[in-house]
């Protein structure tokens, strides 16, 4: 009888742990090793002797597993990339299953990747899944004298309230000017898009130009590359390709400036 009980308990444990037995499309159940990915990848960043940083920029990977895999191969073939930035929309439908599939794929990257949250990532229970797997929506880190600021600009998903994007937080991040050389802002929805809260565009622009330290503003969402100095404030806006376009961008940043390259 003891053996029987043991077998039953074992069977129940197997059933609970096997990911094939999904309870709901909308379940929030990231595996424990897939938690806090952004922070863990930031800790993996290596510090080199040169003063030039080289970053690969991808985005809007959604359900484009094949082309994302191709891009990963291309990035892995480039030496001296410091890290990869994902401009959001990791997944298409906000499902746990997709989050797991996409992270397992992006883990094939030789370099650490850091992702900002996109609007598709937030659908249904996606916000909770993103928080558990990647961490906070707004976060920043310093790397070789530069400050990388990741800001949630998915206003529609938060009902166009006054907290998204969090302008106060952004200003606060930019204000400690003595501790960084350049600031690079990463967000998913660009300020001119209808998914951006129109009431906050001016505040956003004011915050960015206030300390004259923002070198570059990177966004996703459009799926196609864009580059322009939108508001004649000296801040260039760089839009990333969706991985479905089979293209990505590399950016080199040094003390005096930056340059970018489109790679097919």
């Amino acid at each position: 009888m003891k053996l029987k009980k043991f077998i039953i308990v074992l069977l129940i444990l197997i059933l609970f742990s096997c990911e094939k037995f999904e309870f709901s499309h909308y379940q929030i159940s990231p595996e424990s090793q897939y938690r806090n990915i952004n922070q863990r990848n930031i800790e993996r960043l290596l510090y080199t002797a040169t003063d030039t940083i080289r970053i690969a920029i991808i985005g809007d990977s959604q359900r484009f597993y094949n082309s994302t895999k191709n891009i990963i191969k291309k990035i892995n073939a480039i030496p001296n990339i410091n890290f990869v930035i994902h401009t959001g929309d990791l997944v298409d439908f906000g499902l746990q299953w997709e989050y797991t599939m996409m992270h397992e794929l992006l883990s094939e990257l030789k370099y650490p990747y850091v992702a900002v949250v996109g609007n598709h990532d937030l659908i249904a229970n996606g916000a909770e899944i993103y928080n558990l797997m990647y961490g906070e929506f707004n976060f920043s880190f310093s790397y070789m004298g530069n400050k990388f600021i990741f800001l949630n600009t998915n206003c529609r998903e938060f009902g166009f309230d006054s907290k998204v994007p969090d302008i106060l937080w952004l200003e606060n991040e930019l204000s400690d000017t003595s501790n960084y050389n350049h600031a690079i802002l990463i967000n998913h929805v660009p300020p001119y898009h209808t998914d951006f809260n129109p009431d906050l565009v001016d505040d956003y622009r004011t915050a960015l130009s206030k300390y004259r330290k923002v070198l570059l503003c990177i966004n996703g969402h459009n799926h196609f590359h864009t580059f322009s100095e939108l508001y004649n404030e000296g801040i260039p806006y760089l839009g990333s390709f969706s991985t479905s376009k089979n293209k990505f961008i590399t950016v080199e940043i040094w003390n005096e400036g930056f340059q970018f390259k489109i790679i097919e």
């Binding site: 096997c18 309870f23 299953w97 659908i123």
Partner: protein, 203 residues
């Protein structure tokens, strides 16, 4: 009132949302619209646990099942409630071994609906006008394969027990596979969801 009747009545109420008196109950139990078994299922995208009535129709060739499922917070991150509807074709491919009947493969369709504004708001609300997202976020459908082992039981209120395993393939997962055909990354097993269940036959 017997346990059997109370179960049946509760399911009638659940299905047709109408009350019945005791006399009607007795005359109604053998009508065609009465379910002939109850399903109890683990996983399969219709709840950690789901249960509901099922009907065997068209000379045992077709089964309809309706269920309500629940995912508790410890398993799904938050409480999730799901209604599901299944239609399954059962080919006459039975293997009889004494009191056991093996139905190796049935195929069908499954639909589920996840309750809650957080799932329905994307298809027509203030911030999400109809068509903003092309797919419906509350309503999912899928294809179903099922294998069952049926054991005859001679009891007053139970005729048999069925043990089944099902594999389901759902719309958004199928689309993800289809859009990445010839993929070295995503395959049929990746989009497979499994479920296990028991059928309690009382007719």
């Amino acid at each position: 009132m017997s346990i059997r009747n109370s179960i049946i009545v509760s399911f009638i109420m659940m299905c047709f949302s109408s009350g019945l008196n005791a006399q009607e109950e007795r005359t109604i139990t053998n009508k065609w619209y009465m379910p002939d078994h109850i399903r109890l299922q683990y996983a399969g995208h219709i709840g950690l646990i789901s249960s509901g009535p099922a009907w065997t129709l068209l000379k045992n060739n077709f089964e309809l099942a309706y269920s309500i499922g629940y995912v508790p917070e410890f398993a799904g991150g938050r409480d999730i409630y799901i209604a599901a509807f299944k239609g399954i074709y059962i080919p006459k491919l039975y293997f009889n071994i004494k009191k056991t009947i093996i139905k190796p493969l049935s195929a069908g369709a499954v639909f589920n609906y996840t309750f809650g504004e957080r799932y329905s708001k994307y298809n027509g609300s203030k911030n999400y006008p109809k068509g903003y997202l092309w797919w419906n976020t509350s309503f999912r459908m899928g294809l179903l394969l099922e294998s069952e082992i049926y054991v005859k039981i001679k009891q007053k209120h139970m005729k048999g027990l069925g043990f089944y395993i099902e594999a389901s393939f759902w719309d958004l997962y199928i689309l993800s596979l289809f859009d990445n055909h010839n993929s070295s990354y995503i395959n049929l097993w990746d989009i497979t969801t499994l479920g296990l269940g028991i059928k309690i036959y009382f007719r």
